[in-house]
């Protein structure tokens, strides 16, 4: 017994190291279900409050840009309104039913924390479950996609940025509807990779890439970006494509969170037919 105590005493530093490092590694590797350890994340109330304060100061530096973006968006929306009235008039004359069912609801949110320089980037939004946010909702800006919501607390939401190795988004080429999978390989925050498009499809630099509805998260035809390079590796059946994001992910201040009202229905149906096999 005495020897044991002496042994511990001699190696106390080693044991302190092992315990602390073990705790850190435990945190590191349990991060995928860290709702359990939700207090260590920026959904945390205190961290959120501090970021809100700092962010409200930083917002002043972006006022000019934000105003310009809002003005552009207002103009776009006005155009949409006029054409919408037109369409409604037409429909009332020809079709006699309420054939349109609302599928997507847009919720505005303020970005209170953001990063683009790590391998795995996250954003924090100033809205939470009290505003109806859940996990796995789409997050976009007025000119492109941003990511998918992950953890939600009553007042804050953390968003898995598209600039994260966990994020993979189903995307399509707008002009011919061929679809592939979009992900980020690290490095430049303006460029992503699009895979799984076969080489017989005619493509050109500058083609528009948009979302599709396969994952039941994003609405159809939300802009992602444009093809910035189109290459084929010798002997490969698929293109090596890079996409330049249309949204500048470094200076976003306001985003929309999109709630798909029919998501459960689509998911349940797809699961049912897969299980029936």
């Amino acid at each position: 017994m005495r020897n044991l105590v002496v042994f511990f005493y001699r190696n106390v530093n080693l044991f302190v190291f092992i315990i602390l490092e073990g705790f850190c590694l435990f945190l590191l590797y349990s991060r995928n279900h860290y709702q359990k350890a939700a207090f260590i994340s920026s959904s945390n109330r205190i961290a959120g409050d501090i970021f809100t304060t700092v962010n409200s100061m930083q917002e002043y530096f972006h006022l000019k840009e934000t105003n310009e973006n809002l003005a552009i968006e207002n103009a776009t929306l006005r155009n949409l309104l006029r054409s919408a009235y037109h369409a409604v008039d037409l429909r009332e004359k020809s079709v006699n039913d309420t054939s349109y069912h609302m599928q997507y609801r847009y919720i505005t949110a303020r970005v209170i924390n953001n990063s683009v320089n790590r391998r795995n980037n996250f954003l924090t939004l100033g809205v939470g479950s009290l505003q109806g946010i859940k996990s796995e909702m789409a997050v976009i800006t007025s000119n492109g996609i941003v990511g998918i919501t992950k953890d939600v607390s009553p007042h804050y939401t953390s968003v898995l940025s598209i600039l994260n190795k966990e994020a993979r988004i189903s995307a399509k080429i707008k002009k011919n509807d061929y679809f592939g999978s979009l992900y980020w390989e690290g490095g430049d925050y303006r460029i992503a990779t699009l895979s799984d498009i076969p080489t017989h499809v005619p493509l050109a630099v500058g083609d528009t890439v948009t979302t599709n509805t396969f994952s039941a998260i994003f609405p159809d035809n939300i802009l992602i970006g444009t093809l910035s390079s189109v290459k084929v590796k010798p002997g490969d059946n698929f293109y090596t494509l890079t996409v330049r994001f249309s949204a500048n992910l470094k200076n976003i201040t306001h985003v929309y969170v999109i709630k798909n009202l029919l998501k459960e229905e689509q998911k349940a149906l797809e699961e049912k037919s897969q299980n029936d096999k």
Partner: protein, 173 residues
């Protein structure tokens, strides 16, 4: 002793705030993220007991992790650095050991000594950090480039800190 305690506690707080609100926002070409907060671990006095170095680094790393949304990442790499600090110091120790009541700083041990010490410490921390962050070997060259580039910038800030902010008179007394 007491003044050492106060100056190191102050350094802890200042480096934490600077790291969160200044250095984490430096985004050179989207890759480079200097981590100047490890200066706290590097500048603790020679006589600081190892368990205290470990606990204070653990606290610093965990606080950073809470704010950066990276559970365990900063913690793991800075605790490892704290543990290896003693061995790095022994590696570079002068023939008759370090003088008592001093800290590993540029003023007390000279430029040549400091640049070696700082490079090894920065390299240990940055390699651990970026390898754990990427957590795959497929992007090894990218990860190594990030560690080296960020490390170089951290080193520059460490030297600037030694020349501009650190006052040798206040720490000696």
């Amino acid at each position: 002793m007491i003044s050492d305690l106060i100056s190191n506690t102050l350094r802890f707080a200042i480096l934490l705030v600077l790291q969160l609100f200044v250095f984490n926002n430096i985004q050179f070409s989207g890759y480079i993220n200097p981590m100047v907060y490890i200066l706290f671990v590097m500048m603790l006095p020679f006589e600081t007991p190892v368990w205290l170095v470990l606990f204070s680094s653990f606290l610093l790393g965990t606080l950073l992790d809470i704010f950066c949304d990276t559970p365990g990442l900063h913690g793991t790499s800075v605790v490892l650095l704290a543990f290896l600090r003693k061995f790095v110091l022994n590696l570079f120790s002068p023939r008759d050991g370090y003088e008592s009541n001093t800290s590993p700083t540029l003023y007390q041990l000279g430029f040549g000594w400091y640049i070696w010490y700082a490079s090894i410490m920065v390299l240990i921390h940055h390699l651990t950090f970026f390898l754990l962050e990427a957590h795959r070997f497929a992007e090894l060259h990218k990860t190594l480039f990030r560690s080296l580039a960020s490390g170089l910038l951290t080193l520059v800030f460490a030297l600037l800190y030694q020349y501009l902010i650190y006052r040798p008179g206040s720490a000696k007394s």
